[in-house]
Subunit: 649 residues, 2 copies
């Protein structure tokens, strides 16, 4: 999928900077790669997107929202596997010490070589006005060197599964393809592991190590018991959390797409592992998604398959209904906030790229001028997290479910003879008894054999061996056991949203340039997420407009519509141009006629068309358009267009 | 001010834990002092309080909200003074190594001695059911030892200004009063400084030190230029930020009141230092506040003064209108969310307790069972932060204001003779010239004297001395300079809210126990902040209620009222009791009659009184009460009370 032909990243970035959607943090101090601040419009856009997220997911499905600690003791993340395995591969320029992320280095060099090949073959290379991209090409030393066809094929296949290589494999690729440090041509070290968590220590003694959480999920898992109880022990259910997480990226790049600190929104949906169907799946079964299964990528291909999610689950391309249900809900959410639905695909992870906790994962990837970018992960974490925390802490993290009918099973049971047992083992008696009663059926079967054949067996408890002779046992027979409760560790389906990435993709998708006149930029945010919904513009700074302005502003506020008054001296055209850049969907002009007849004009951002009606009518229309109850197309079909010379330009 | 007589902290904390308002974080792993997780009701309460905050401050005054980086390079916090001065004094038990915050240790020991004295004098000591408090007393070894009157007086005066002592002074107090380690009786070390910031490092080389921000303010200051421009260069204006901050407290205690990670809401209001009046001050001038000025505390007293803010500003007890305006706005905000206005006071900081950046500070303190607790700080940071960042980075952080009339001043001016200057100083010429043109009037006056009398003077630039002889100067005379623009560094008034502390105080203030029956706890949150607004209760699990429930629920949602259905099998009384604990203000019961005649009963939490009306009427009433447009008192006066046997209990 090619970038939109009219898209120019340089002018978009200029606009976003000028209107302070976001900016590099600490730029007074030279900045820090991967850290950004959101200015007023970016902050409002983020708040509105999160509000839609909360309504679409949390309220719609009665999820339990929590707000947990960011600072996390290292023991928790040791258990969860993050201390050992939450890492990337990095390598060094052996002379300058410059550091690269190994997979990015291979990717950049191979892409540059393919581009050089295109030039050499005289194929038109995509020309780009993008400064970063040009710099990257220069840095990657794009040289017009022709490659043979087999090499081109090998490079392409390697790139298609670039996320699937381990560190040693990346090292091997570097040797095979003769990859050097792009700027210097120096040799590169073997890839080594770099943990991506920010470390700190808690408390005044400095002896209590901690990390900033790399995901919001762990806080939710650790509260599983409380949440299940809060939900009156009902299953399935989901918890959710919106909050900041941190990853100490090796080489942050591509603006908001790869940063060191970011807002996430994560859902942990707990299901019975034997019932991964979903009660609302029928609502989404016919919804079509573009998918890219792992099997296709492993063939070195990237062709998308468009398929109804019902069919994909039936054919086992998507593992289960719950996963399928969430993929559709994610797609609807992204569409609702203004992402172009044609530029969203769902890509399944290959085995090596999967996070250590996941047994299956589908990413919602959004297409941008940087290519396809992972913005939402939807992982099946199975029972991994609850199991490891339970094993480590000894706290049961399970669901206990009353069986509809008691379950009767034939089981081997061992009963000790307490009269002899206590005096024989004294202080160890309790521990040995606990050990014997905790044994599973297969262990009991083996001991039973020894018991019957030799008359004795031994067990090891706390590194000590104890002989269990016949006199210690009062019965060791098969009997029927009735169970009323089923106990299980739930599986977790986790949709996880990188909010900053989504915001950036959104800004790319809604950006365009008005071809007329001065080529003014427009951000066509849907009203529901637009930072400001309505601009109020008095014709001039004349005091006569103030009462009308105040009236309109109060009525809008009463109807829950955020508005801003721009009573600066600039021309109306200039004031509207500024608000096109801010993505404000509606503009209301107050002129001399307004003060007389209570009418105002309403301008719609994308069409720049206007209508003129009584204040009350306009306010109601704006409200309904902001709530998605009607659209400008419907409104402009119903009300006559208004043309005013004053506002043109 | 004594704790509310009926208040019992133990039962409140049980309730908050049971209903998962909040809980110690990582409790599966033994927990970490000062880190808490908010469960669903706590999370919703926090979101609602922040929403009120945003409306009350940000929207009401068109503040510019931003969202900045938490991870902060150490150079920024070095400049802001936090690396050197954001610290507490700690001391150690010399034998066990136990660590204390020095001021807390002195405070606890003296308070314990005063309590012991009361017992000895047979004055009834306030009896407490509070476990923590009993533990503290025990730990502090409250012994019935009678003190002489002079000692009692000294202790009281010391406690009244406990926040005003430096580390060495605290050490002196420990020696004077013979303070030892409370548990062991061991000697205590001299207080040493402990920096309260969490340290980390950024990037893969580990050579780039950073801290987690201890306040959200610095991010706002660093964006000052962008924000001023965004505001079309208009003054005064304010930025605002809601976000997480971190302080590595020496000894976190008192639950949510002293934690290591917390959500803040901060406003930086920029004013012209020569005009600290406020355009809306007249709206609040007659509003009365209870204040405790620094001068009173320094006399060892704590009596409050109730005074209209207009009078307090006039009498210079409160420095300026802007500060006074915000104190009132803070008080109104706290009242709006349910804090008891009688239990709020404004205490001025004494000189030693003031943060290093502040020149004046008033804390809004809220009274709790732990005593008066600082929940909102309102500091005048003067031009401190903008000045230090500007000096360090060389970036001007100023306001440039067009003067209404040009200002003409007689000034000494030095003009160099470029023809001679360049060849003489070569590569240094530019630096020397810059130095000469940057000199202020008094420096010029001195040089002029040397120039006129000796014919030469020397200046030092980059550690090198340069002789400025007469031939280098083409003119050095007095002349009139016309200025069109005034340039100044704005002052900052900063209201800063600790959200977690406010939430805890709120929960204390709205908690009470229904005296009837089983002594059930109630949290009387105002509807606007209640985690859930309305509970929907079908009489039983009978399917006949489902259509009515869905109808009511949909109508409430359409009106923006959050509701929960409780269709568990528990009795209606038990379901209401659960929701009293959750602070749900309204309950709607659907019974057999509802299915027939479209009427439902509405129960109000605090009175437990009910009315019965058509669905549409009830939904409208609930909506209006949630929006604060009417009250239950008005509603229950207008509609007849409904008594139903089913719901009693």
């Amino acid at each position: 999928m090619a970038a939109e032909p009219t898209f120019n990243r340089v002018t978009l970035e200029q606009l976003l900077g000028k209107r302070f959607f976001y900016a590099p943090a600490f730029s007074l101090y030279g900045g820090v790669a991967g850290l950004y601040d959101y200015g007023p419009p970016g902050c409002a856009l983020q708040a509105n997107v999160l509000e839609v997220w909360r309504k679409h997911f949390v309220l719609e499905e009665d999820m339990l929202e929590v707000d947990c600690s960011i600072m996390t003791p290292s023991e928790v993340l040791k258990t969860s596997g993050h201390v050992d395995r939450f890492s990337d591969w990095m390598c060094k320029d052996l002379k300058t010490g410059e550091i690269f992320r190994a997979d990015h280095l291979v990717e950049n060099v191979l892409e540059a070589r393919l581009e050089g090949d295109k030039i050499a073959r005289n194929t038109p290379v995509e020309i780009t006005a993008d400064k970063d991209e040009r710099k990257r090409r220069k840095a990657a030393k794009v040289a017009a060197v022709r490659l043979d066809d087999a090499t081109v094929q090998t490079y392409k296949e390697t790139l298609a599964q670039i996320d699937n290589y381990s560190g040693p494999e990346l090292g091997e690729l570097m040797r095979t393809f003769g990859i050097k440090s792009p700027e210097t041509g120096n040799d590169i070290s073997e890839p080594v592991v770099f943990n991506l968590m920010f470390a700190s220590s808690i408390g005044p003694t400095g002896q209590f190590p901690g990390f900033l959480r790399p995901e919001t999920a762990q806080g939710q898992f650790l509260n599983f018991k409380r949440l299940l109880e809060f939900n009156n022990d009902r299953m399935p259910f989901a918890s959710a959390q919106i909050g900041r997480s941190f990853r100490n990226e090796i080489s942050p790049r591509e603006g908001l797409l790869r940063v060191r600190e970011f807002t996430m929104a994560e859902i942990e949906h707990y299901v019975d592992p034997t019932k991964k169907d979903h009660s609302r799946f029928h609502e989404v079964a016919s919804y079509k998604l573009k998918i890219l299964p792992a099997s296709v990528q492993l063939q070195g291909k990237t062709e998308l398959l468009e398929i109804a999610v019902g069919e994909a689950v039936e054919k086992q391309m998507i593992d289960n209904q719950t996963l399928g249900y969430f993929l559709v809900r994610i797609h609807i959410f992204l569409t609702k906030i203004g992402i172009n639905p044609d530029r969203v695909r769902f890509r399944q992870h290959m085995k090596n790229e999967m996070a250590h906790y996941a047994c299956d994962c589908w990413d919602a990837e959004i297409h941008t001028s940087y290519g396809w970018k992972e913005c939402v992960g939807c992982a099946d974490r199975s029972a991994y997290d609850l199991t490891v925390h339970s094993n480590r802490t000894g706290e049961k993290l399970v669901v206990r479910e009353r069986l509809p009918e008691p379950l009767v099973e034939e089981k081997l049971q061992l009963e000790i003879n307490k009269r002899v047992f206590g005096p024989r083992f004294k202080k160890d008696a309790k521990a040995v008894e606990d050990h014997l009663t905790s044994l599973d059926q297969s262990a009991l079967e083996q001991l039973k054999k020894l018991h019957d054949e030799i008359g004795t067996f031994s067990v090891s408890v706390n590194d000590q061996s104890f002989d269990i002779t016949k006199d210690l046992i009062s019965s060791f027979e098969r009997g029927s056991i009735t169970t009323h409760v089923r106990e299980y560790t739930p599986n977790v389906i986790e949709p996880s949203f990188g909010i900053g990435r989504i915001l950036y993709c959104l800004m790319e998708h809604v950006y365009w340039v008005r071809p007329e006149g001065e080529q003014r930029g427009v951000l066509s945010f849907p009203p529901v997420v637009a930072p400001t919904k309505c601009l109020l513009v008095p014709l001039s700074t004349n005091d006569v407009f103030v009462p009308v302005l105040n009236k309109v502003s109060a009525q809008l506020r009463r109807n829950g519509v955020s508005s801003k008054i721009d009573d600066s001296g600039a021309s109306i055209g200039r004031r509207y141009a500024r608000n096109d850049e801010l993505g404000t969907p509606f503009g209301i002009t107050v002129d001399f006629q307004s003060a007389q007849d209570n009418t105002i004009t309403l301008r719609e951002r994308d069409s720049t068309k206007q209508i003129r009606e009584k204040i009350e009518v306009i306010v109601e229309l704006v409200k309904e358009m902001c709530e998605g109850k009607t659209t400008w197309a419907e409104v402009s079909a119903k009300y006559p267009a208004f043309v005013s010379q004053e506002i043109a330009g």
